[in-house]
Every structure is written in structure tokens, then in C-alpha cells.
Symmetry: C2
Subunit: 333 residues, 2 copies
Amino acid sequence: MTTPTWLDIRAAHDRIRPYIHRTPVLTCAAIDAMCGAALFFKCENLQKVGAFKIRGATNAVFSLTDAEAAQGVATHSSGNHAAALALAARWRGIKAYVVMPENAPEIKRKAVEGYGAEITLCAPTLQARETGLAAIVARTGAAVVHPYNDDRVIAGQATAALELCEDILPGAGLDMVIAPVGGGGLLSGTALSVHALAPGIRVVAAEPERADDAWQSLQAGKIIPLVHTDTIADGLRTSLGDKTFPIIQQHVAQIVTVTEQEIIAAMRLLWERMKLVVEPSGAVPLAAILSGRCDGMALRSDGKPARIGLILSGGNVDLDHLPWMLSRDASPR
Amino acid sequence: MTTPTWLDIRAAHDRIRPYIHRTPVLTCAAIDAMCGAALFFKCENLQKVGAFKIRGATNAVFSLTDAEAAQGVATHSSGNHAAALALAARWRGIKAYVVMPENAPEIKRKAVEGYGAEITLCAPTLQARETGLAAIVARTGAAVVHPYNDDRVIAGQATAALELCEDILPGAGLDMVIAPVGGGGLLSGTALSVHALAPGIRVVAAEPERADDAWQSLQAGKIIPLVHTDTIADGLRTSLGDKTFPIIQQHVAQIVTVTEQEIIAAMRLLWERMKLVVEPSGAVPLAAILSGRCDGMALRSDGKPARIGLILSGGNVDLDHLPWMLSRDASPR
């Protein structure tokens, strides 16, 4: 089993930098006061396609040889990875093939189509998706880019934490970095970057209680697949992969699980106080910090608050169906 | 009539820099494609108190002598300026007195109280507000800080455009800067900064059609007070002042008015594509650009798209009452 090295991550950053945004790192005094810490928000919601996913997809697409690239890239996905891969392929001028379940939201189909990808619809089962993808690969010879269980993707996602550390380390540094965990691409990449740049920084994961497969997997010492997929954090409804799990086992100090209510409250706080459109998955790390269940938040030895980096992973949300509206709609009349 | 000089603006920036955020300048390829220009968004919605208002208030508060400051500051306002003045006063460790109409939204009262200001409620008329303020000044000797018709406030608001130009000018520069206009504090400050740094850049104002007093004033050559105050852009429901109007007359090339529908569409675009919570007033400049009624958007002589700076003035909005929800609620069932 290989793992992306620090050189792979630096190379990924050089490769993708001309295409992606260097997203800002923002702070909020009001939220700091609420949790007694100094928080640094890496705003990947402001990234192209509205999520960090463009980093891994772009690194994978631009890592291909010209001969490989000529046959295009392919994936099955109903989410941000499909849009990211389609856009990265367009940047390179190659074809992207995306297998999507028929029940994928219209808006996501439109986004993928808008970036010029060729969509193949299939039944909404994992088997149908894999069969559909295999057929496309057999026909076209396209290179498959998995949404997270791929070294090139992990190295790409790692560049978000690399930038966060570059922006904050010159000052007083960070004590902790916290990222959400779904399939583990962002988390394992974050762990690798932080470990390489500043091994003393604690890496923590935040996960919905209703999709706590990563927490269970760490307890069990093996990958426990996700069973329930009903969390509001739709970006985190995936199981760990055999490439991401070992990295997480090695470098992640704690996985904090949070309730649906905690996710919604954190999301609303980010909108209200920081003026950022963040999707539920992106609010999960702040929910973990605010829960009080995150270790390592005590004052520093110099008496100052702990300094914590959070990855706001994405901002793709349906503005007509916000969770605080839904819960109000559902309340008794 | 004095007008803030470039030295005043630079001094204001040095004075307020330790307190405020240097807000990011963001770009969006999708919106650029929609309007055939290269847009640079100065994100004052991400500013402290959620609006550029903290710049002017902080400059005014820290411009006071110690003897003046000891007696506190006072204003009448129901909006962002009151919160900004309260926070700036807290930073300086002095009292802030705010006269607010009894019908001001609870959320705004709470914000001003939260920053430690002393609130005096009054009847919701301009006369009651002015009488209330005069009584406080007579009792306390507090220094009045007007929301816009004040040189210190204008110089403070000017620092947003100063930062925008500093961040963009080293590259290929800007052809136009566009800001919303209500009382004219932000617009006149923007015009002064742009004129000082790069006199060739066109300064444009954007204004709701339903509150087009600035447009009318420029036509008439004198200040025409605002009559209607029913635009959704609640930050722009004010008339020009005798300090802001002459600066606007001298330096603003065009005032573009936009409809309520155009404002809501631009606001939604900023949320959806840029993942930014922007209030209606802050979306007015983008509405003007998208309307096609803005002059000076032709390609540059080098064949490249025009480069336009926009000031996203604020992000304070009630998340339970978003305009696209309201309009849906109001549609036939």
C-alpha cells in the first residue's frame, strides 16, 4: 500500500495552483468567544465548484500522461466530485464520463452537464453504478478517478491543509486542525499535510453521529461500512476506503461525533455570524468544537486560547430548502 | 466645505487597521461569463459587524482626543451604523449612546446592546430621533457620529476601495469600481480613494429604482430627499448629505438604477455561485452590472474583458425571511 508523500502533496499543489482559488482563512471573534478558542476557518466553500473536491480531481486529471488523458476520465458519483472531475477535464481539454443514479437531483445533473461531461444514468444502486462505469471504461479506455480512494485525489485534498498551515504557521501556529470525514479523502490528506509540516499539531475528525462509520472503524481496527445514510450532511454519507483508513488510523487523534441538531446550529452560526454559505457537511467540524466533546481545547501553556484550524469543506446547498426552514415547516401549526 | 484628503484616508486606514478585517477580494468565473467582464468582489459582508460601516465608525471613534472620547459617542440609527459605533466605542473603552426607534427589529437592538451601548428608544420619526439625540448630547457631552455625513466616516469608508485597489492594481488594474449608494458615505469615500490612486478608473454608483434619490439629485444638481422607503435594499433607504453629495457630483460617472427583481436575482446569484451571504443592498452593484445598463463595460483595447471592482457592502440579513422565500410564499397556491 503506497501513501502520498510530502513531495507528492507539494507536486499536487504546484500542479493545481493555476486552476484553483487560494481560498481565504477567516476568523470570527463572536464564535471564538462562544468556544473559548481561536478558530481559523479555511473557506473551501469559496473554492471552485463550491468544494475542496476540485483539488483532488484536478490533481488526478493533470497527473495523467497525454496518452492516458486522450482517452478521458470517468467516475460514478452523484455529488461534488462529479462536477469537480468534469471541470478539471474541461480545463485539460479531455472528455469526462460520469455515471449518475437516475434519482440524482436535477441541479447536480445540470452542473455536471454544464461543465461538459457525458452523463450516463443508471439505477440508484452501487452495483448499477459500478457496472455502468465498467462498461464505459471498456468502451472508451477512460481513466477512473475515485472520489477519495485514490492517491492522486488524497494528495490533492491535502493541499487545503497545506495552504491553511502556510497561512497560519508564520504567526503563532496552530494546536489542532479539524476536518469532516466521509470517505476520508479530505481527512487523510489533511492528516498527511499537517503531519509533514508540523507533527505536533493534533489532527481531529468530525463526523455525524448518524453516519459514524469512521468512529466505529477506528474502534474496531478495521473498516466498518456505513449502514445508515440519513444524515443531513449529505457529503459524508460514504464509507472509508482501504487507502484512506490506514492514514487516518496512523495520524488522527480523535473522531468527534455530532448530532443533526448540532450540525444545523453550527451551520446557521456560520451563515449568521460569518456570512458564509456552508453546506451541512462543512459545518460538522464547528459543531464538534462547539459540542465541548473535542479534547485538546484547554488554554495553551502561555495562558492563551487554543488555536484551531477548521476546514469548511463546501457550500453547495439548495437555497430553497434550508434546514431551519424545513424544521419550521415540520413544526406543529 | 472640507473634503477628506488622500492623507486623511491613509491616516484612517492606519488608525483602523488593527481593529478591522482586511476582507478578501474574490472572483467567480461563472458570473464573469454571464456578464462578459472580469469582476472583483470586495467582501465587506465578511467585515466585522457584517458591513463596511465599522470602518467609518472606528475611524471617527479613534479620531477623538482623549478628552472628547471620555464623554462618549452618540448617534441615532436603526441599522448597521449603530452596531458599528457601539463596537468601536467598546474597542476604545468609552460609552456609546444610541437612539433607536421603538419599531427597530429586535435582532438589531440585541446586536447594539451586545456591544455594550446604552439604547434610548424613541418614536419612529426623524424628529423624535433628533430630539432624543440632542437630549443625550446635552446631558453627556457625547460626540455625535453621523452615519455618513461626516468627514471622519467618509474617510473610513474610503479604506474599502483603497484595499481593493491595493490588491488589484499591482496586476492588470481596474477599469471601473461600482458601489451602492444610500446616504453616500461609502460611495463618496470610494470615489475619493479611486480618484487618488488611479484617476482613470470609472466610479459608478448603483441604486434601487425605488429609492433613486441619488440619481434624481445628480440630474437636478441639488439634493433631492428620498420619499419612498419601500425598497428591499434596507441599507439604502437614506438621502444624500451635504458632505457626500458634492464628492459624488465631482467624481461619479454614472448612477445605474435597478429594480427589486434585479436586486433579488443578483443576491441569489451571490449566495448560490459565490457562497456568500450578502444583504440586498450589497447585491445592488452586481444587479447594475447584470442589467446591461452600465456604461463602460466594452472590451478593453487589448481585447480583454473590462475589469470591474464591486463593493459587497454587507451581509446582515434575516435568515428566516429570505426574499426568494417571501416571493414564493406570496405566489398563488
